[in-house]
C-alpha cells in the first residue's frame, strides 16, 4: 500500500476548441491537506469535476487511482460511494429544508415500514454537527443560518457519507474572517481524524496555514507540487502567472485624452441584506482613449460595482457621484445610463447579454432601436444593413445575420454583444470578463476590438480576473478587494506579483 490515497495520472480533458487539462498529474498523500491553486480558468475546477465523476470516465484520458485501485466513475454517486465528496462553491443545500433533512437528503434515516425515522435523523444530525463544531438545532431551516454555517452543514453531510477524501472548492470565498478561521481549523481537526482533504483556493495566506502540499495549475497544466516547507507566496505567484506574455495581445499605442468618466465615493449594499457593503467607497476615472483594468478575484465586487453603476441593476442603498467629462450625470436607470453614453457588456452573456432565441440582427439593434425608427416604425431593411456591417467589421462567423445567437460559439456571441453596445455609440464601455469562455484565437480578436474602441477616443473599462490579460491590454489597472480599491497602477508598475498582492489584500479589522 502506497502512502498516496489518490493518484491522478496524465489527465487530459478537452472541450470543443479548448484543451482544459493537459497531462495533469496529481498525487495526494493519505491524511494530508492538499491545496490546489491557480488563476480563474486555469483548470482547477475541471480537474475536480473529472475526479468526482461530473465528467464521467471516457470523456477524459488518463487514470485515476484511488486507494490503490483504478477507478472509473460514471457519475457523482459513484465517486461518493468510494468516499470522495466535493463541496462546490455554490452550496447544494435546499433552503427550505431543515439542517437534518439536508444532511440526510437522498440518504434518509429509515425506520419501520421504510418511513423516515425523525428521531434517528435528528439525533444523528446532532452528532455530525458536533463533529464540525456547529451548535444549531437540527430542525432549523437552512435559509435561517449564515453562509459560514451552511458550509459546515455541507461538511457534516459529507461526514455522514463516510468521506475519505473531502474536496472543498474555494470554501472561504463567501465567508468572513471568523468563519474562514473556523473552517480552516476544522480542516486541520478532520485531518487529525484521518480525513484527507483537497482545498482549492486563491488565498495564499490560508493555503500556507492549512496545507501540507500545494499543486499549482496554470493553463490546464500542473506546474509543480511544492512541499509545505518550501511553500512561499512568491513561488506560488510565480508558478501561477509565469507565462509567455508576448504575442498574445495585439499592439496598442495609447493616445490618451482628457477625462471622460469619473466615479466618486461609489458605495453599494447587498440587495437582500442592506447592511452588507458590497462596493465600498470606490473612486476611479477613465480618460478618452484609455483602457483601464479592474483586477479582482471572484467575489471582490467587480460586477457589483459595474452593475450598480449601470442603471442600478444591482444592489441597494447606492450612493456616490458620476461625472462625465467633468459634468455630473445620473445613471439611475439603464436607459439613463445608455443615454449618457455608458455601455455595459455583462460577464454572463447567455443569462444577461443575449436573447438566444432571437437572431443576430435583432440582438444588435436591441439597445438602440430608436435609431432605426422611421415614421414611427422600425426600418427592418436598415436594421439588416446595420447588422450586416457589424457582421463584417467584427468578423462574426455566421452564414447570415438571421442566424440565432444561441447557435453561435462563445467568441461570436461576445462579438454580437459588443456590436450591440458599439452600435449604441457610447463614450465609455464597461466590459465585464470580455473573454471568459472564449478560445485563444477569438480572444485576440476581442482584444483588437477593444484597442480599436480606445483608438476612437472611447474610454474602456475592462473587468477581469485574468491578470496576464489585463497587463497585456490595459494602460492602467485598479485592484479591487472586498469591494474596495486597494491600488492603482500605471501599466509599467503593474506586475502580476504586485497585483495579486493587492487583490488579496484584506481589510484591516
Amino acid at each position: 500500500m502506497t502512502t498516496n490515497i489518490l493518484e491522478m495520472r496524465g489527465i487530459t480533458k478537452t472541450f470543443p476548441g479548448v484543451k482544459a487539462l493537459q497531462d495533469v498529474t496529481l498525487n495526494v498523500a493519505r491524511g494530508e491537506v492538499h491545496a490546489i491553486c491557480g488563476e480563474n480558468g486555469a483548470g482547477k475546477s475541471t480537474l475536480m469535476k473529472v475526479l468526482s465523476g461530473v465528467y464521467p470516465h471516457g470523456t477524459y484520458t488518463g487514470d485515476i487511482v484511488f486507494e490503490d485501485e483504478v477507478v472509473e466513475f460514471k457519475d457523482i454517486r459513484d465517486s461518493e460511494a468510494k468516499g470522495i465528496v466535493i463541496i462546490h462553491q455554490e452550496l447544494a443545500l435546499s433552503p427550505y429544508l431543515s439542517i437534518a433533512e439536508n444532511i440526510f437528503l437522498n440518504n434518509e434515516q429509515r425506520g419501520a415500514l421504510g418511513l423516515i425515522d425523525w428521531n434517528k435523523t435528528n439525533t444523528e444530525a446532532v452528532k455530525l454537527l458536533a463533529r464540525v463544531g456547529l451548535r444549531e438545532n437540527p430542525t432549523t431551516k437552512i435559509m435561517d443560518i449564515g453562509v459560514g454555517k451552511q458550509q459546515l452543514v455541507e461538511i457534516a453531510k459529507a461526514l455522514s457519507k463516510r468521506v475519505k477524501l473531502l474536496i472543498l472548492d474555494e470554501p472561504t470565498a463567501a465567508l468572513n474572517d471568523e468563519d474562514s478561521d473556523h473552517l480552516l481549523n476544522l480542516m486541520l481537526h478532520l485531518k487529525g481524524q484521518g480525513i484527507t482533504s483537497i482545498i482549492i483556493s486563491h488565498k495564499l495566506n490560508e493555503i500556507k496555514k492549512v496545507s501540507d502540499a500545494v499543486t499549482v495549475i496554470r493553463d490546464g497544466k500542473a506546474i509543480e507540487t511544492i512541499d509545505k516547507v518550501d511553500v512561499t507566496e512568491d513561488r506560488i505567484i510565480k508558478d501561477m502567472v509565469g507565462r509567455d506574455l508576448e504575442h498574445r495581445y495585439p499592439d496598442h499605442t495609447p493616445n490618451i485624452g482628457e477625462e471622460i468618466l469619473r466615479v466618486e465615493d461609489w458605495t453599494a449594499h447587498h440587495p437582500q441584506d442592506p447592511t452588507r457593503v458590497m462596493v465600498d467607497n470606490v473612486n476611479l476615472n477613465v480618460r478618452r482613449g484609455e483602457i483601464v483594468g479592474i483586477a479582482g478575484l471572484m467575489g471582490a465586487g467587480r460586477t457589483e460595482f459595474a452593475m450598480s453603476l449601470f442603471g442600478r441593476t444591482y444592489g441597494s442603498r447606492i450612493t456616490g457621484k458620476v461625472f462625465k467629462a467633468g459634468k455630473e450625470i445620473k445613471t439611475r436607470t439603464v436607459t439613463e445610463a445608455i443615454d449618457n453614453g455608458i455601455a455595459y457588456a455583462t460577464e454572463d452573456r447567455k443569462t444577461y447579454g443575449l436573447n438566444l432565441i432571437e437572431d443576430i440582427k435583432r440582438n444588435i439593434s436591441m439597445a438602440s432601436l430608436g435609431k432605426l425608427v422611421k415614421g414611427g416604425l422600425v426600418d427592418d431593411n436598415e436594421e439588416f444593413k446595420v447588422a450586416n456591417e457589424y457582421r463584417t467589421s467584427m468578423n462574426i462567423k455566421a452564414p447570415t445575420v438571421l442566424a440565432k445567437t444561441g447557435k453561435l460559439s462563445g467568441g461570436n456571441q461576445q462579438k454580437v454583444v459588443l456590436s450591440k453596445w458599439i452600435y449604441s455609440n457610447p463614450d465609455v464601455l464597461i466590459l465585464d470578463e470580455p473573454t471568459r469562455g472564449i478560445d485563444v484565437g477569438a480572444k485576440y480578436e476581442i482584444y483588437a476590438i477593444i484597442n480599436a474602441l480606445a483608438a476612437q477616443g472611447k474610454g474602456v473599462i475592462v473587468i477581469s480576473s485574468e491578470l496576464p490579460e489585463l497587463i497585456g491590454i490595459c494602460d492602467r489597472i485598479y485592484t479591487l478587494s472586498e469591494g474596495r480599491i486597494t491600488g492603482e497602477f500605471p501599466i509599467d508598475a503593474a506586475t502580476p506579483e504586485t497585483l495579486i498582492k493587492h487583490m488579496t489584500m484584506e481589510k484591516a479589522r
Binding site: 427592418d380 450591440k420 472564449i438
Partner: protein, 413 residues
C-alpha cells in the same frame, strides 16, 4: 459549461440560397419546403378545412357557414390577438373570459339600463376594460406577482363582479347599432344583387393592396441585399393567396356581405401585426419574452411594457365581451365561460412558445380558426359536445408536442 460550436466561417456570400445546388429546380423545391415548414400551421388549417369539407359533405364551405365561422369565432380571435402578445412576453392571462362577461354586463347597464347612446356605451365599456387592465398590470408589472396568480384572482374577481352588476338577471335587448357589432353585415349599400358588389369591391381592393405591399417589401429587401424567394414561388404564392381571398369574398358576397365582426378583426390583425413586427413596443415584447434580464440590461423598460401589455389585453377582452353580448343580444352570467382557454389554445396552436419570446399574431389567428373549424365541423357532423372537448384538447397537445419536437430537432434551446 462548454461553448456551443459554430461551423467554421462559411464562404457562401450573403443572400445565397440555403441549398447551393446548381439545379434551379432543387433550390426552388427546397424553398417551397422551407416555406411550408415555416408556415406549417397554415398547412394544418388547410388540412383541417379539407378534411371537414369531406366529412360534412361540403356543408362546411357553404357561404352561410363560412360567414358563420367568422361571426361565431370573432370574439375568440379578438382575445387570441391580445393573448398571444401576453404569451410572447412570457405571461398568461386567465381572466379574459370573466373580464369579457363583466364588461358585457357593464355595457348592458350603460346601453340598456341607463339608455346611453350606443357609441358612448361602447367607448365607456372599452374604458372599463382598460381599467381592468390597469388593475392587473399594476400587480403584475409593479408589484411583481406572477401573471398566473393575478389573473387567476382576476378570473374570480371579475366573474363575481359580473354577477353583482347583473344582479341575478339577464340584461337584454340592446340597440340595433350595438347589436351590429356581433351580427351586423355591411350589405346592400348599392341595392340588392345576387352577389353583393361592396364585398367584391372590398375584396378586390384588399387583393390589390396585398400585391402592392408584397412587391414593395420584396423590392425593398432586394435593394438591401437581403435574400428573397425565387420569383416563381413568390408569384405562385401570391396567386394562391389571391385565389383564397377571392373564394372567401365570393362566399360572403353570395350570403349577406361583410360581417361587421370581420371588419373589426381585419383592423385588429393589421394594426397589431404592424405593432408586433415593426414597432419598438412590439420588439420590446419579444425581447422581454426571449430574455428578461438581457432586455432590462439593454434599456428596455420591462415593467412599463408589461403594464401596457395587460392594459391592452383588458381593452381587447372588453371588445370581445361587447361582440359576444351584441351577438346574443343579452348580457348574462354565463358569458365568456371558457374563453380564456380557447384564446390560450389558439395562441399555442398558432406556434407561440410556452417559455415566451416566440409567436405571431397571424399564427394565433390561424390557431383560432383551426379551433373554430373543429367546433363548427364537428357540430355539423352532430358530434356531441363531450367529444368536441376531447378532440380539441388532443389537438392542442399535439400542436405543442409537434412544436417542441421541431425545436429539439433544430437544436433550439
Amino acid at each position: 459549461m462548454s461553448d456551443l460550436e459554430t461551423k467554421p466561417a462559411s464562404n457562401t456570400p450573403e443572400g445565397a440560397q440555403v441549398n447551393p445546388s446548381n439545379s434551379k429546380a432543387a433550390a426552388w423545391f427546397s424553398h417551397v419546403i422551407a416555406d411550408l415548414g415555416k408556415n406549417g400551421i397554415f398547412v394544418a388549417l388547410i388540412v383541417v378545412v379539407v378534411l371537414f369539407s369531406f366529412l360534412t359533405d361540403g356543408i362546411l364551405l357553404r357561404p352561410q357557414n363560412i360567414s358563420n365561422l367568422i361571426v361565431q369565432n370573432g370574439y375568440i380571435l379578438v382575445l387570441a390577438v391580445g393573448m398571444v402578445m401576453v404569451i410572447i412576453a412570457g405571461h398568461i392571462d386567465l381572466s379574459v373570459g370573466s373580464v369579457a362577461a363583466f364588461v358585457g354586463a357593464v355595457s348592458g347597464v350603460f346601453a340598456v339600463t341607463w339608455g346611453l347612446p350606443w357609441w358612448l356605451s361602447i367607448i365607456l365599456s372599452l374604458l372599463v376594460g382598460a381599467l381592468v387592465g390597469v388593475w392587473q398590470g399594476f400587480w403584475i408589472a409593479f408589484v411583481g406577482i406572477p401573471a398566473f396568480i393575478v389573473t387567476l384572482a382576476g378570473m374570480l374577481i371579475f366573474r363575481g363582479l359580473a354577477l353583482v352588476v347583473l344582479g341575478n338577471a339577464n340584461i337584454g335587448s340592446f340597440p340595433a347599432e350595438y347589436r351590429a357589432l356581433g351580427n351586423g353585415f355591411l350589405t346592400d349599400l348599392f341595392g340588392e344583387f345576387e352577389l353583393d358588389p361592396l364585398t367584391l369591391g372590398v375584396a378586390a381592393l384588399a387583393i390589390i393592396a396585398l400585391i402592392v405591399q408584397q412587391v414593395r417589401t420584396r423590392k425593398g429587401r432586394a435593394a438591401y441585399g437581403q435574400e428573397v424567394e425565387p420569383l416563381v414561388w413568390f408569384v405562385v404564392k401570391l396567386v394562391l393567396i389571391t385565389a383564397a381571398i377571392a373564394m372567401f369574398a365570393y362566399a360572403l358576397a353570395s350570403y349577406k356581405g361583410i360581417p361587421v365582426t370581420l371588419i373589426v378583426l381585419a383592423v385588429l390583425i393589421l394594426v397589431y401585426g404592424i405593432i408586433m413586427n415593426r414597432s419598438v413596443f412590439g420588439r420590446h415584447i419579444y425581447a422581454i419574452g426571449g430574455n428578461l434580464h438581457a432586455a432590462e440590461l439593454s434599456g428596455v423598460k420591462t415593467r412599463n411594457v408589461t403594464f401596457w401589455l395587460f392594459v391592452n389585453m383588458g381593452v381587447l377582452a372588453a371588445l370581445a365581451g361587447l361582440i359576444f353580448t351584441a351577438r346574443l343580444n343579452l348580457a348574462g352570467p354565463k358569458a365568456g365561460d371558457g374563453f380564456e382557454l380557447e384564446a390560450i389554445s389558439a395562441a399555442f396552436i398558432g406556434g407561440a412558445a410556452v417559455q415566451g419570446g416566440v409567436g405571431t399574431i397571424g399564427g394565433a389567428i390561424i390557431g383560432g380558426l383551426i379551433i373554430g373549424v373543429l367546433n363548427n365541423g364537428m357540430s355539423i357532423m352532430g358530434i356531441g359536445i363531450e367529444w368536441q372537448q376531447a378532440v380539441k384538447g388532443l389537438v392542442l397537445l399535439l400542436a405543442v408536442a409537434f412544436d417542441v419536437y421541431n425545436k429539439r430537432r433544430s437544436g433550439g434551446r
